[in-house]
Symmetry: C2
Subunit: 237 residues, 2 copies
């Protein structure tokens, strides 16, 4: 009985969250913004990836960041150095950003800036490989990071994140020579459950693979802004 | 209004969990078992730590493992090679073990074995640096792992786990030479919020620090089984 109540309640919470996420997405669409939800375990390299990405993409695109952390603005402060608006959301004891929190971030963006001037919003979620995958925030694409140090079995053990991802970045490739890990097994394990996910091995330290990631982001933005032209450019493989 | 309802509900859930956890702990006490709750991000090395620990401690202690994973018995199968009872709990979409799940594991232990014959139960929690810290399962000690690859800022950003831990293992020390990380800062950041936590830098690969961890576990068991004698042995520093 208690379990049934919990399950019904969880469904209600997820349903309410989905409605708010859909409203957020419609507002991003009105503004002409493509929104990416960046998710991973703690310490897989979300913030350093965003640092590299802002340095490259902000030369030609207007970018804002909604930065989720349980406490502190340590990551938000790192990203503010790249001269883009960074809206920090502290989730307190909550283990993920939900759509209502991101709606609050969008409200701040609207209050302080002209949102239609922006092309991209990156949402950096709380470090957690489980819960953020359950709560859409209004994103157009879900990006998961998995560090090579976490092991090739993680997609099998934490499947929801890897089923939901549109793009998987296998990070910290510079450490791979020091580990007993088969990188190909990560891709095999993920493609078993999500055949169409884009997978890029990257290292923020050496720069390996980052251009492929930047181009994937550019393509998602172009597909939304100029769908016919961008589709012709999309690689067929 | 919605938020107030959520907060009240969360308190009810945590309160119900705590009652079950207290019952679990009392049952462990009746059986003469010391229970350790092992928690960390995915891939920080909980299972390999338990492999090394079972290999060493099962020579003189009777040990069982309650192994939590969202899906698969991959980790449970690794630990079964050490010839100890391993009770696997799949949590489905749940991001942590709760006290009721562990009570189910204890019931299995009681059904298939004589629990009073055991000295130690290790509970390996779901890989998640946030949620498991909120839900006691009936343990006598909380053990947190933080891999050096996760970065020295994590205790500040995910404080609850580090406030609650009785012991912190800083894992994968063999990778430290390849990283820009100040190990001392991890200890400083944790001791700011939890001055009495035991901290051991370890590497399951090289064996660094493992004896200190084994001795800490032995001491916790001895303090419960022979408190006066063990207290005299406890290091004063």
């Amino acid at each position: 009985m208690h379990q049934t109540f919990d399950a019904a309640l969880e469904l209600n919470l997820l349903h309410a969250n989905q409605s708010t996420a859909d409203r957020n997405r419609a507002l991003f669409d009105d503004w002409g913004i493509t929104c990416f939800n960046i998710m991973s375990s703690p310490g897989a390299g979300k913030t350093v990836l965003l640092e590299r990405t802002l340095a490259e993409l902000s030369r030609h695109s207007a970018i804002a960041v909604i930065e989720g952390d349980m406490t502190t603005e340590l990551d938000a402060d790192r990203l503010r150095r790249y001269d883009v608006p960074v809206i920090a959301i502290n989730t307190g004891r909550s283990c993920h950003l939900d759509a209502k929190m991101v709606a609050g971030g969008m409200h701040s963006l609207e209050h302080d800036y002209e949102p239609a001037d922006f092309d991209i919003v990156f949402v950096e979620n709380v470090g957690n490989l489980v819960c953020p995958a359950e709560f859409e925030v209004g994103e157009h694409a879900k990006v998961a990071l998995l560090s090579v140090t976490e092991g090739e079995d993680k997609p099998l053990k934490y499947p929801v994140m890897f089923q939901e991802a549109d793009c998987l970045l296998v990070t910290k490739m510079d450490l791979a020579p020091h580990l007993d890990i088969e990188i190909d097994r990560i891709a095999e394990n993920v493609r078993q459950m999500n055949p169409h996910v884009a997978i890029f091995p990257v290292s923020a330290k050496t720069g390996e693979g980052l251009n492929a990631w930047f181009n994937w982001v550019r393509l998602q933005v172009a597909l939304r802004q100029q769908p016919a032209k961008a589709a012709a450019l999309e690689p067929s493989c």
